[in-house]
Subunit: 162 residues, 4 copies
Amino acid sequence: MRRSLVRTVAAAAAALLLVRRGKSAARADPRSEHGAPSPSAAWSSEVSLELVRAKAEAFAIERAWTQFHSPRNVLLAMVAEVGELSEIFQWRGECRPNLPSWHAKDRVHLGEELSDVLIYLVRLSDRCGVDLSAAVLRKFSMNARKYPVGRAYGTSKKYNAL
Amino acid sequence: MRRSLVRTVAAAAAALLLVRRGKSAARADPRSEHGAPSPSAAWSSEVSLELVRAKAEAFAIERAWTQFHSPRNVLLAMVAEVGELSEIFQWRGECRPNLPSWHAKDRVHLGEELSDVLIYLVRLSDRCGVDLSAAVLRKFSMNARKYPVGRAYGTSKKYNAL
Amino acid sequence: MRRSLVRTVAAAAAALLLVRRGKSAARADPRSEHGAPSPSAAWSSEVSLELVRAKAEAFAIERAWTQFHSPRNVLLAMVAEVGELSEIFQWRGECRPNLPSWHAKDRVHLGEELSDVLIYLVRLSDRCGVDLSAAVLRKFSMNARKYPVGRAYGTSKKYNAL
Amino acid sequence: MRRSLVRTVAAAAAALLLVRRGKSAARADPRSEHGAPSPSAAWSSEVSLELVRAKAEAFAIERAWTQFHSPRNVLLAMVAEVGELSEIFQWRGECRPNLPSWHAKDRVHLGEELSDVLIYLVRLSDRCGVDLSAAVLRKFSMNARKYPVGRAYGTSKKYNAL
């Protein structure tokens, strides 16, 4: 347990550094179309992917739903939730960051649909035996190699067209 | 910082309890079609949603990509990744939990696509000003009310048909 | 065969009337945000849904692919194509009708991805035993009842909120 | 008009030939997992993509909805419908061709969701200035070159892995 605490503190510190680095870089970025990159508020840091995984698993087991949670069933359930998320955005035209013109009710609804996608995504990973925590850290490293800052700066081109 | 540590420990303990509760429930569940609900391995617990958020934000800022990350742009990028995830499953027919027959290479690829969806989902939440950490906990509570164990046990019916 | 010809001519005439009605209504519409509803060019009228169905079926049979075309396999293949279609639009921000600023190459690519979605959609219908030709006419009638012109005029609200 | 009739008859004849060719190939296919490729019933042949396009356009114009039908709005509406389609399949496990075990009510619902995807797909093409009729014929030709019968026979591999 002690080592795990140390790792947690280390991770939290890393996250703080990332945010801080992000913010100073933001100040220096003269090109951002949507105004200065908004100083995104940090989220409540104690919700881990593992907590979401364990909650989703417990939810299913308590209801005897594991039988329905084959990988492709859960994948299709996730696609259905992506559809509900898209529906919220479908007739709005382009939306500004932080959705300043949205009603509170719509923002709450948005949070619910984002959460539904997350829950099924995490559940899908779990049912496939994939440790999403490890996979996502690995993917960030891969992406950093695919999109080196020098060549990717300020362009939305795909890595194979850089 | 000390309070945050206490909260982290509390959350970790809650997660452990959830898993434990899940497992004992699992043993008692006689109906699971796919064999006894697999004792899902816990994931590396130090990856929080906030860490993913901060990393995705830093990645974008370092490359001056914030200008491209309007909510609907990121949403469509996520839909594109859901497509790549679906492509992995498309010709396989039904897949067993933990994908025992898959090649190691395909499992790694799967982890990458799951991660891409996660990264854009978290980024979308962030660009919309939604605290996904808070939203997902709230959604689990909602779901528990929508699907009370007594009525939802063993059925895949939608809440409005229970 | 003669009756079928008569029906084809009748359908073509109906389509012409629809377009014409559409265009005169367009002239009278003072509110359209994107300029006068563009006088959409009619498409080559001889491509029926049945032709697409028969071509997709023949393509699969010639390659002994029917074995792979279970309903959910084809559905996931379609979701994958929807992802590729979304990718074309993901970093562009809002796009004007007829995509005046797009390169010819991108428009051709767009036509290919739209076609891929169509082919799998038609194939999915066929593998499910659904006559999509009949279903779509029926759906237009349903939609007309759900969205009566009087109440739906000029609003993007959902039918249950009209 | 006479030339168009001739073309319509020619297209219908071509479709018949395709189906016939398909069926004889089907008889010779010994490997199909889902039984002999089902002799798919032909659909009502008079519904052309152009008819769907014209009806969708007229529907929008009559309700002054053209203002909402920007390409990305319609794309997201289509993604939402793909989600509703996926929801029908999500908890069912693998489904057999023609869905023999489904209730009549569910099959009707399926036809409605397939139609909704079709209508938005056609509408998206129209709003993008893409002639989907021409594009789909072109795509079938491309696919035939990408997947030559000799190399693609009996395998679900992607063209770049053949």
